[in-house]
């Protein structure tokens, strides 16, 4: 029977894939990133080298280009963490923007190798205020 020979295995595969995505993939990532305050309070759970994502806003005036990439400070308004990112940050990277960095603690600062920009849900025209062209170190 075409129905049973096709649909039952198909349902099985779908259930397996969904189960994996929900409990294997998303389960670990229900907390997509830690805020600086959470990262500081859970410092003991993440020894040096234990990878996690850290998300926050880039503090004004802290971006410095280095040979390996860029250093800056992320904050959630409560705690702040020094971040050293290796690699070229995306075009939109700038002061005051949201970022999610992936890496691990290295002593008192955070070493990351992946930096993505998390922009907000506001859409404002340039005329509303001074348009700040991307000041990322790329290019």
């Amino acid at each position: 029977m075409p129905y049973k020979s096709f649909v039952l295995p198909a349902i099985g595969v779908v259930v397996l894939v969904l189960g994996f995505m929900l409990f294997g993939g998303l389960g670990d990532n229900l907390v997509y990133y830690l805020t600086p305050a959470e990262a500081v309070s859970q410092r003991a759970d993440f020894p040096d080298g234990e990878r996690f994502r850290l998300g926050g806003l880039v503090v004004d005036g802290t971006i410095q280009e280095t040979e390996a990439g860029v250093t800056f400070v992320v904050t959630d308004g409560d705690k702040s963490i020094d971040v050293a990112n290796s690699g070229v940050p995306p075009q939109l990277f700038r002061e005051g923007i949201g970022v999610v960095v992936e890496g691990s603690w290295s002593g008192d600062h955070f070493e990351s190798d992946t930096l993505i920009v998390k922009h907000d849900e506001e859409y404002r025209s340039e005329e509303d205020g001074a348009y700040v062209p991307p000041t990322g170190t790329s290019g």
Binding site: V7, M21, V31, Y123, Y131
Partner: protein, 244 residues
């Protein structure tokens, strides 16, 4: 739907898409994202159509279960097909938008992206289910059930940005303070309307095509039956036993 009204919807959709495109091009650059933000004029309407289409599939399924009307099943099926297309378009435009703006086109940990991808594959499964059942009534019943169950994903996808911490930004338009400037909101609303007309045109034509397919299937079933009766010849037992 009559062919004439479908053609009228087609023309309206083309006009509306043209208007929407013009407003999208003329919209100002966004303060943070520059011109990249304009991808939302395709991305957001695509996602909206996916939700709308799967909602129509849900309603079609319920109506079929209550009234057993073939039209409801055809609309549900056509709408799901259009919905899968626009879910795919939302995923692709999201990647195109994410690459320059976030610095990545996909993130396996993001609840919005993962839930949308799961929704895409479940509705691809819905279409596969339809093709695997030859009997129209069984097909309609099982599809209706799946179409109803699968719809739980729509609110899950929609609220994923509120329920979880995500890379994807939260909701903009549907909140009291709507942090969006009028130029963007106007262009977005026009494109939402234009895409809705495109949805009506696609689903209308596809439903019409589905009716023609059903009629053809029925006609073929009848002709098959006639041939089947005359085509059978008695087994020639003598020759067979002779060979063995």
């Amino acid at each position: 739907m009559r062919k004439r009204s479908l053609i009228v919807i087609n023309l309206l959709a083309v006009l509306a898409i043209g208007t929407g495109f013009t407003f999208a091009v003329l919209a100002p650059s966004e303060r943070t994202q520059g011109d990249f933000a304009k991808i939302m004029f395709v991305h957001v309407p695509s996602a909206w159509l996916a939700f709308l289409a799967f909602g129509v599939t849900l309603v079609g399924g319920v109506v079929w279960l209550v009234k057993k009307s073939p039209l409801a099943d055809r609309i549900a099926a056509s709408s799901a097909e259009v919905g899968v297309f626009f879910t795919g378009l939302a995923l692709v435009t999201g990647m195109i938008w994410g690459y320059p703006v976030w610095g990545t086109f996909w993130d396996w940990g993001d609840a919005r992206m993962m839930s949308t991808a799961i929704m895409f594959f479940v509705y691809v499964g819905y279409l596969a289910l339809r093709r695997s059942i030859p009997d129209p009534e069984t097909r309609a019943r099982r599809s209706a059930v799946l179409g109803i169950i699968a719809f739980v994903q729509v609110p899950l996808v929609y609220f994923s940005v509120t329920l979880f911490r995500t890379l994807h930004q939260g909701t903009t338009v549907v909140r009291p303070d709507a942090p969006i400037d009028p130029e963007f909101l106007r262009a977005l609303m026009i494109n939402l309307g234009a895409f809705t007309l495109v949805y009506l045109a696609f689903t209308g034509w596809r439903t019409r095509l589905a009716r023609m397919e059903d009629e053809l299937e029925e006609a073929e079933a009848v002709s098959d039956f006639e041939i089947a009766g005359s085509g059978i010849t008695a087994p020639r037992l003598g020759e067979v036993t002779g060979d063995v």
